[in-house]
C-alpha cells in the first residue's frame, strides 16, 4: 500500500477536521472528494507531514507520517491549488531550484528541469519570466515543479482550477499519462467531479472529517444504490415522502423529473407499489446511468 492511514484524528482547537479517517490506497490515480470543510486539505497536509495527527497512525510510501516527514516529502510531489511562483525567475531556474531543494544535485536538477518542462509543454517558454505566464502555463509549471524530483506519489490540489476548457483537457491528459503509464501514484483533490471521473479509477469521499465512501468508482456506483428517473402525474409529494421513508433519496429536477437513488436492498417494484398506493401515475421510468456526481450527491447529501 502506498498510503495507509489508521484512525486519524485532527482538530483545529475545538473544530474537528478529521474524525477517525481510515484509508488504504495502492497504485493508480485516486480522487479525493468532499464539500468545503470536509477535511481534504487537512488530510493532504497530514500526508505531506506538515501536520501531526492528534491520534492515529499512518504510512506514506512506507514512511511513518509522524517520524519520517522528510523522507515522505522527498518522495512525493505536491501541486498546490493557488498560483505559486517566485517573481523575477524564469521557468527553468524555478523548476531546477525546487529540484535542488528536494535534494537533487544542482546540475542534475537543471537538466531534469529542462526535461520536465518539455514534458508539460513549457519547453518553448522555459526562459520566460514567470510573471508573464498565462494561468494555464502557471498550472503546468506547478506540475513541473512537483515532478522535477521524480516523485513516486503526486498530490494534486485542484489541478484544473482557473483553466479554460482546452487547458483543462491538456492537464487532464497529462495527469492520466502520469498515473497510468509512468508508475506514479496520483492523489487528486478536486471539486470538479468529471475531472476525477476522467482521470481516476478510485475515489475517496470525505464528509465532515470522515470517510463517507471509498472504493473503485465503478464498484461504488454499482453497489451503493440504483438510480431511476421517473416522471409521474398526481400527488408526487406524497410519493416522494413514502420513498424517503423507505430509505431512498429523491431529487426533483427543473423539468419535474424525479431522480430516485434507491438502496440496493430495495426492489424497483416498490416504486410502482408506492405509486399505486398514493394514486400516482408513473408515465416515464428508466434506470439511469449513474455518474460520480450522483454518487457524490447521494453520499454527501448535497446537490
Amino acid at each position: 500500500m502506498n498510503i495507509e492511514l489508521k484512525s486519524i484524528h485532527f482538530n483545529y482547537g475545538k473544530i474537528t477536521a478529521l474524525d477517525g479517517v481510515d484509508l488504504q490506497l495502492a497504485e493508480g490515480a485516486c480522487g479525493l472528494l468532499g464539500p468545503n470543510g470536509a477535511g481534504k486539505s487537512t488530510l493532504l497536509r497530514i500526508l505531506l507531514g506538515f501536520l501531526r495527527p492528534d491520534r492515529g497512525d499512518g504510512r506514506v510510501l512506507g514512511y511513518d507520517i509522524r517520524q519520517e516527514q522528510f523522507l515522505i516529502r522527498r518522495s512525493v510531489g505536491y501541486m498546490p491549488e493557488g498560483d505559486c511562483l517566485i517573481p523575477g525567475m524564469d521557468g527553468v531556474t524555478f523548476t531546477a531550484y525546487f529540484g535542488e531543494l528536494s535534494g537533487m544535485p544542482r546540475q542534475e536538477a537543471m537538466k531534469r528541469a529542462h526535461d520536465v518542462l518539455f514534458y508539460v509543454g513549457l519547453g518553448e517558454s522555459r526562459y520566460r519570466l514567470l510573471e508573464t505566464y498565462s494561468a494555464g502555463m502557471k498550472q503546468r509549471l506547478k506540475l513541473a515543479q512537483a515532478l522535477v524530483h521524480d516523485p513516486k506519489l503526486l498530490f494534486l490540489d485542484e489541478p484544473t482550477s482557473n483553466l479554460d476548457p482546452q487547458g483543462r483537457n491538456e492537464i487532464l491528459e497529462l495527469i492520466k499519462d502520469i498515473s497510468s503509464k509512468k508508475s506514479i501514484q496520483v492523489l487528486i483533490s478536486s471539486h470538479i467531479l468529471p475531472d476525477i471521473e476522467y482521470t481516476c479509477s478510485y475515489v475517496v469521499i470525505l464528509n465532515k472529517g470522515k470517510v463517507a465512501a471509498q472504493g473503485a468508482i465503478s464498484a461504488l456506483k454499482e453497489i451503493q444504490y440504483s438510480l431511476y428517473e421517473i416522471k409521474a402525474k398526481g400527488e408526487t409529494e406524497r410519493l416522494v415522502r413514502k420513498l424517503e421513508e423507505k430509505g431512498c433519496k429523491v431529487e426533483e429536477t427543473e423539468d419535474q423529473l424525479l431522480k430516485v437513488y434507491m438502496p440496493t436492498n430495495l426492489d424497483r417494484k416498490e416504486i410502482f407499489r408506492l405509486a399505486d398506493q398514493e394514486k400516482v401515475q408513473i408515465r416515464y421510468f428508466v434506470k439511469s446511468q449513474t455518474s460520480l456526481e450522483d454518487l457524490f450527491a447521494q453520499t454527501v447529501g448535497v446537490d
Binding site: F50, C84, L101, F118, Y119, D150
Partner: protein, 289 residues
C-alpha cells in the same frame, strides 16, 4: 502549444543530503537581488566610504608626505578604534544598509507570501529553520560585504602600510571587535528586515516601513531629547542603539550617556520578537492555507 513535447523519463540519480540546506535559498536570493534595478549601483556605492577610510589609513602612515594638507593637525587621521567605530556606525553606512535592505531584502518573505511560494518550500524536505536561515544569510552576505570585509582589509592594510605589527600589538582585540560588531549589525538587520518583510505581502509597504521605522525612531529620539534633554531617549532610536553597542565593542566613549547594555538588550529583544513572529508566520502557512 503542444503538450508533452517530450516523454516523461524517470530520474536515475541519487538525492544528496546537504549539510547546509539553506544554501540554495541564499544563493538564489543574492542573485535575484543583483538582478534588481539599481541594486548594484547602491550596493557598490555603499563601499565608497570604505575607499576614503582606506585612503585615510594610507595617509596616516605617510603624514610627512601629506603634511601640507593637514593644516597643522593630524587628529583626524589617527587610526585607532575610534576610526573604526566611525566607519562602522557612521550615518552614511547605516542609512545605505537600510537602503540595501529596502531593495534587496524587502521582498525576501513578502514576495513568498504574496506569490504563495511558502507552501512550495515546505513541501520539500526543508526545515523552517533552513528556510529562514537561507533568508538571514542573504542579508548577512550583503552586510558582511559592507562591514566585515572592509574592516578586516583596513586592519591588514594598516599593517602593510606601517610595515610592522605595532598597531595590532596596541589593539590586539580590534579584529575581534570588527568581527563581533559586523555580526551584531548583520544579525540585527537580518531580523529587522525579515520581521518587517513578513508583516505584509506587498514589498512596497515593506520598503516604506523599513525606512520609516529607521528614520522616525531617530527623529523621535531627536525631538524627545530636544524637549527633555534626557539621553535615555536614545534607546528608542535604532541608529542610537547601534552606535551605543558599536562604541562598547570598539572600547570608545559611548555617544550617549546611557549604559550600552540597555541598547544591546533592546536590539536583542527586537531580534527575539522577530524570530517569534517569523515562526508563527511559517506555522500559519502550514495550517491555514
Amino acid at each position: 502549444m503542444p503538450i508533452a513535447e517530450k516523454g516523461y523519463a524517470h530520474w536515475q540519480g541519487k538525492f544528496i543530503d546537504r549539510k547546509f540546506a539553506w544554501w540554495p535559498i541564499t544563493r538564489l536570493a543574492v542573485r535575484q537581488a543583483f538582478k534588481k534595478k539599481g541594486f548594484k549601483f547602491v550596493f557598490f556605492g555603499s563601499l565608497i566610504p570604505a575607499f576614503f577610510y582606506l585612503a585615510g589609513i594610507y595617509i596616516s602612515e605617510r603624514l610627512e608626505d601629506f603634511k601640507f594638507m593637514m593644516k597643522g593637525t593630524n587628529r583626524f587621521l589617527e587610526v585607532n578604534p575610534a576610526y573604526f567605530r566611525t566607519y562602522f556606525t557612521g550615518d552614511f553606512l547605516l542609512f545605505m544598509i537600510v537602503i540595501i535592505m529596502v531593495i534587496g531584502g524587502a521582498g525576501l518573505i513578502a514576495d513568498d507570501l504574496k506569490y504563495n511560494a511558502l507552501q512550495l518550500y515546505f513541501a520539500r524536505p526543508l526545515h523552517k529553520k533552513d528556510y529562514f536561515l537561507g533568508k538571514v544569510f542573504t542579508v548577512f552576505f550583503f552586510l558582511m560585504f559592507l562591514t566585515l570585509v572592509p574592516g578586516l582589509i583596513f586592519i591588514i592594510m594598516k599593517l602593510v602600510f606601517a610595515g610592522n605589527f605595532k598597531f595590532l600589538a596596541t589593539y590586539p582585540w580590534l579584529p575581534v571587535s570588527v568581527i563581533l560588531f559586523s555580526l551584531a549589525l548583520a544579525l540585527f538587520f537580518s531580523f529587522y528586515t525579515l520581521l518587517v518583510s513578513s508583516l505584509s505581502k506587498n514589498r512596497r509597504y515593506v520598503s516604506i516601513l523599513l525606512i520609516l521605522i529607521y528614520i522616525f525612531s531617530d527623529v523621535f529620539f531627536g525631538i524627545f531629547y530636544g524637549i527633555f534633554h534626557n539621553p535615555y531617549f536614545a534607546l528608542i532610536s535604532i541608529k542610537g542603539n547601534l552606535q551605543q553597542v558599536g562604541a562598547a565593542l570598539f572600547k570608545v566613549k559611548a555617544p550617549y550617556d546611557v549604559p550600552w547594555l540597555y541598547s544591546f538588550l533592546i536590539l536583542l529583544a527586537i531580534c527575539i520578537l522577530s524570530g517569534f513572529i517569523l515562526k508563527k508566520k511559517a506555522r500559519g502557512v502550514e495550517v491555514i492555507k
